[in-house]
Subunit: 281 residues, 2 copies
């Protein structure tokens, strides 16, 4: 997916939000916005928004000197999500189709996204997503691929969402590689967040090598590229990963909630729609 | 009022919105965003957001070659507002206090603002504002000033809102100068919009000389500055005028709806609050 014009004011908004988390120094934040403004002319609209995001978050680290501005927020999101586990387990135990319900839970977790301007309410949004119609629902194909799969590559998105991913991974019961970002970018999962979310108990946590709030294979490690080639089933969570992988040639199943109109437009759906969509399946 | 950091992503959003109205050429719009990005480092946070807006809207005219991107929208807003006049007259005739009700109507008109990202519904918002509590309500002072006034300077804001201003001006029944912008900026009223709104029937339309989406006296004409000095009563509509006049030394009555959290914060009120606030009274 390419960058849309609408992404540009959004980059500026993200720089401000992350800058505010990193420092109280208004002059430093203004410097960050000045520098982000200067970057705009270098943005190629042919790149994905996630690739542009990398440059902006590197700038945030450089100007503020803070490596992981969203650290506290991520810790809080994971704790909040963990509190919901008993209730989620109870819902899962009562559900007609445990796989569909755990997919819905994993998608519901995708609302925990601090790259967006929108506010969210985890409990309320979860309740809605558990019954909401899917805009794409390639479940039959997904079920078939899962049945035949020995290994799964599960590409993570946000911290907190990771707790919900754990439920789906446990439910699927296969050898799973849980791929996280190499460095902190927005509130995306890095290795320590995945461990805090208990993913080490159900999967092998691997770094994608990505410095981008998404997955662009050319910027990922050789090991991750090998996994991407070899895995029997790939699950890609969230918008950032979709942006980078939507044009890939192998089968990938995307699970996400369309949280901005740009992504919704690219997918041909409406904002707030939820998606289980397979490509090349 | 000075510029806040939050205004900066908003400027970028405004450039995109106006660019889209002016042209379908995506490259031109990207150029506009590039140029706006370059401008950010030159923004002095000591200036008002309206002053920064001037530079951005001048850039929009320069890059797109379109003098008044909001022309069609303004025409439509005025027509839509005019359709509501019979209903507004009927409400006014039944109201307990005609002056308060016409002030409420004039403030309700202030929701017609295309500088904001927010969407609005004129009918619904009007209904709410007719009964909404005021965050500031300096009505007694206003009534007293009005009683003693021979001349009123009424500083306009948006096209469409102008139709509602006409109701209040007629109700006040004094010699009124209706001040509009010198050049088109966002959907602010210029002379031809004021005439289309019927303001020439109840007031003398004057240009403030402003190229800014607001009123900064130092950038206004000598004639307007004289009027500002001499008028017995000054009414300032909307956010843009508030930004430039909030620190002036003479009495001014502000009527507005706080449509963004930056203005709300500056006024010490909440977003969506409505205000009749006098300074130096």
């Amino acid at each position: 997916m390419k960058t849309y014009l609408d992404c540009i004011p959004c980059f500026m908004q993200q720089a401000l939000r992350a800058g505010r988390l990193a420092t109280n120094n208004e002059e430093k934040i203004k410097q960050l916005l000045d520098d982000t403004g200067d970057l705009i002319k270098h943005i190629s609209m042919e790149k994905t928004p996630a690739e542009v995001g990398e440059v902006i978050y590197a700038k945030i680290r450089e100007v503020t000197g803070i490596y992981d501005p969203y650290k506290d927020i991520k810790t809080k999101s994971i704790a909040e999500a963990k509190l919901m586990i008993p209730e989620l387990k109870s819902i899962l135990d009562k559900s007609e189709n445990r796989l569909i319900t755990s997919i819905r839970m994993a998608i519901a977790g995708n609302i925990i996204d601090f790259g967006m301007s929108k506010k969210f309410n985890l409990k309320e949004d979860l309740k809605r997503i558990l019954t909401q119609d899917f805009a794409y629902f390639d479940f039959k194909a997904f079920e078939q691929h899962l049945k035949n799969a020995k290994t799964i590559l599960y590409i993570a998105d946000n911290a907190g969402e990771s707790v919900f991913d754990r439920i789906l991974i446990k439910e699927m019961g296969k050898k799973t590689y849980y791929a996280v970002r190499e460095v902190p970018v927005i509130n995306d999962v890095i290795s320590e967040d995945a461990i805090a979310s208990g993913l080490d108990e159900v999967s092998e946590i691997v770094s994608s090598g990505s410095h981008v709030p998404g997955t662009i294979l050319s910027t990922c490690s050789a090991e991750f590229n090998q996994l991407f080639k070899d895995a029997d089933l790939i699950i890609s969570k969230g918008q950032g990963n979709y942006e980078g992988l939507s044009d890939e040639k192998r089968s990938v199943f995307f699970m996400l909630k369309a949280k901005c109109h740009v992504i919704a437009k690219d997918l041909g759906i409406k904002e707030n729609d939820i998606v289980l969509k397979g490509i090349n399946i």
